[in-house]
């Protein structure tokens, strides 16, 4: 379970996350959607321990991220929005490094790497330097790295970026299996139909705070819209702005 209470993050005079209260149940995929700069990535970075909150608490699997960061990091698998990887290592080196840092026994590590490499058709790249991999393959390394220690919490920031439809489908299946096994997943994406397909509940974040939360159907009912894109525009109060810009574009044509 992931719980945040009054989570706030200030960057100087800018409030990136403002009194954020979240609750992601065990066995739930929670979609965190929001416009650019709404605070999604900052929230995820706080949950993973990269950033410290200015105030409030963040609990992952009963562990306070601020009070016990190492204990919390053991439970979390994180896929950042763009892969952060050691470019001069090979995926083989990278997985071994992670195995060592996360104390994964050799046999378990081998089994999991083989399992995910097979699933993501990754074997041909095992000894290629990460710096020379395509974006999609780097993303696969990033995803496998996040799953290797069998985390109870998965935080995925635009994890489907760069993946081809086949691999994206496989990743969705893997996420469902994680969910079935009682793990909590926070999933952020700008591809709204994907969020609709994958997530059990969705939270719309704007200006650092959750403006609406619920299942896709609940959100649709709330704003009386049938399409998830319209729901998003309505809840983030972007509909008028989008209409104005579209009008202006038409006029300049």
């Amino acid at each position: 379970m992931i719980v945040t209470k009054g989570l706030t993050k200030w960057f100087g005079g800018l409030c990136a996350v403002n009194d954020l209260n979240l609750r992601v149940q065990d066995g739930e995929i929670y979609g965190l959607l929001g416009p650019n700069g709404s605070g999604k990535s900052t929230t995820m970075k706080i949950l993973t321990g990269i950033l410290k909150p200015s105030s409030g608490t963040a609990i992952v699997d009963k562990v306070d991220v601020v009070a016990s960061p190492i204990k919390a990091k053991k439970k979390i698998g994180y896929v950042p929005e763009s892969p952060i990887l050691y470019e001069s290592l090979t995926p083989n080196d990278m997985f071994n490094f992670l195995g060592g840092l996360r104390n994964i026994p050799s046999e378990k590590l081998k089994r999991r790497v083989n399992y995910y490499s097979n699933a993501f058709e990754f074997y041909p790249y095992m000894h290629q330097y990460i710096g020379s991999l395509s974006f999609g393959n780097k993303q696969k390394v990033s995803i496998i790295s996040a799953l290797l220690h069998d985390p109870s919490i998965l935080i995925m920031d635009e994890a489907m970026n760069g993946l081809d439809p086949k691999i994206a489908r496989i990743l969705r299946e893997i996420l469902f299996r994680f969910k079935v096994n009682g793990k909590s997943i926070i999933f952020s994406t700008h591809v709204l139909p994907l969020a609709e397909m994958v997530c059990d509940r969705i939270g719309i974040i704007d200006n650092g705070t959750i403006v609406a939360e619920g299942t896709v159907e609940e959100l649709k009912d709330k704003v009386h819209e049938a399409d998830i894109e319209d729901v998003f525009l309505e809840l983030t109060k972007s509909r008028d702005r989008v209409a104005n810009v579209l009008d202006a574009l038409k006029q300049t044509e």
Partner: protein, 476 residues
């Protein structure tokens, strides 16, 4: 650059203050120049006291070599670091050809303080003999530029190459790269060696002093010196023009070499946290040759001294001990490179269950390993002359570790619990050299005073106590 350091970028207040601080170029240059200026004054005082022209020339010859080496080192390491931070990534899309000038411009700020080292000597000569002083000034400037160009060449040749697959003979390739680097870095001594031993027998071109840094000895012959300066400048301009074009081409499209392996299998090899961290760092260093240059500094200082001692036939046990102390002290020079290899990956490291002390001790061990190997080679070399040199083996382990642990204590004084990359500037390095110098002085006292087995064992005792206390301090 400031924004690219995740440790600073993630902290808005610190980012603002760092941006303010780093935006004051003049303040930074003055701040970094002052310690070097102090050292320069010591050397300038030797020029004042010099009794003959030969002594002055000897001092200038040695002095000319320092800005050259500092420039090579700073350019190679800084260029690799900047590239690893991805500072060129956004510029690649620009419809302009920036060339290597942009990189030179960024690095130039780090090179200006090197001039402070030679400035006092230049001022003295300008007062005593204005023309000689002016020529000396020009030669030193040329030395800094030459070092920068060699550094850029190292970076372009080794730092901008992407090898797709880890080859079968990767280890051998690393060895070859290291040897190539040693040859470049010890070019000065190779020239002296050639000048003294080879060329007289070959009977041609006995005046190798036409090449920098020895060419600086021509300052008392102004016409010849100006001629040499012009020749050097033309040569440098041509090389720089070539490299600056090449560098941008390689930044835009790095050379990708493929040594494809048929094997696609995963080979697990799990280790402890510390070993994993150290092994990861060593792999990364060995695959970024420009970074290796940062670790070879002790070798560069040692080679001439060892060659000199062997030539004069007076290599003593005390001298070998002295060399091991030098290697130990110079361990701290690797701190910059060992921390900078993390580059923008620091955020990734911060998502892993790794504590600050594990990270720091891992880095300290990594930076000790190469000096340890060098010290062991020195001990083996010593055993060839005196079997009792085996007695020095504990020092080969204790001194690099003591040096690196104290370096890390000094650099990581910040209160934050998070792992990070502290700023390392010349002032900090000089303070570190003084701290390590004092500690090593303490360790050396029993050897110097007693010069017996008891002296050596007492020194090991002191070194062990210092090393263990530093380790415990880092651990707690």
């Amino acid at each position: 650059m400031v924004k690219a350091n995740p440790m600073i970028a993630n902290d808005r207040e610190r980012l603002e203050s760092e941006l303010k601080r780093s935006s004051s170029i003049l303040r930074n240059v003055v701040f970094q120049s002052l310690p070097l200026l102090t050292f320069g004054i010591f050397i300038a005082s030797a020029i004042i006291l010099a009794e003959s022209r030969e002594v002055v020339l000897g001092l200038l010859g040695s002095l000319a070599f320092i800005p050259l080496i500092l420039s090579i080192y700073q350019t190679a390491v800084q260029a690799t670091y900047l590239n690893s931070l991805g500072v060129f990534d956004n510029l690649k899309m620009m419809p302009t050809r920036l060339g290597g000038h942009y990189l030179s411009g960024v690095i130039a700020l780090d090179l200006i303080p090197n001039f402070a080292f030679v400035l006092p000597s230049v001022v003295i000569l300008l007062i005593q003999k204005p023309l000689v002083g002016t020529l000396t000034l020009l030669w030193f400037l040329l030395g800094i530029i030459l070092g920068h160009v060699i550094g850029l060449a190292i970076f372009t040749t080794f730092g901008l190459k992407i090898q797709s697959y880890k080859g079968r003979y990767n280890f051998l390739k690393v060895i070859v790269k290291v040897i190539a680097l040693i040859v470049v870095l010890t070019l000065f001594f190779s020239l002296i060696y050639a000048y003294e031993y080879i060329i007289p027998y070959m009977g041609f071109m006995t005046e190798l002093s036409v090449i920098y840094p020895m060419a600086i000895t021509s300052v008392f012959d102004p016409f010849f010196s100006i001629f040499l300066l012009i020749l050097h400048s033309i040569f440098l301009l041509l090389i720089y023009y070539y490299i600056s074009h090449k560098i941008w081409e390689r930044i835009l499209e790095p050379i990708i070499t493929s040594d494809r392996r048929i094997q696609n299998e995963y080979f697990p090899s799990t280790r402890s946290k510390m070993s994993s961290l150290v092994l990861k760092d060593l792999k990364m260093i060995s695959r970024q040759t420009a970074m290796i240059a940062g670790f070879l500094l002790p070798l560069f200082v040692l080679i001439p001294q060892i060659v000199l001692a062997v030539q004069e036939g007076d290599l003593s046990l005390t001298q070998i001990t002295f060399f091991i102390f030098i290697v130990g002290a110079l361990t701290l020079s690797g701190s910059d490179a060992v921390l900078k290899i993390e580059g923008k990956n620091l955020d990734f490291l911060r998502t892993l269950p790794l504590t600050k002390d594990q990270y720091i001790i891992g880095k300290a061990v990594t930076m000790s390993l190469i000096p340890m190997i060098l010290s062991i080679i020195l001990v083996v070399f010593g055993i060839y002359y005196y079997i009792s040199a085996i007695l020095l083996l504990p020092l080969a382990f204790l001194l690099p570790l003591t040096s690196s642990f104290f370096t890390m204590i000094y650099l990581f004084r910040y209160e934050e619990e998070d792992i990070g990359i502290p700023d390392i500037n010349i002032l900090k390095m000089i303070v570190l050299f003084i701290i390590v110098g004092l500690l090593f002085g303490l360790i050396a006292v029993p050897i110097l005073l007693l010069n017996t087995y008891i002296g050596y064992f007492t020194s090991y005792g002191i070194a062990s106590i210092l090393m263990i206390s530093a380790y415990l301090h880092l651990k707690l």
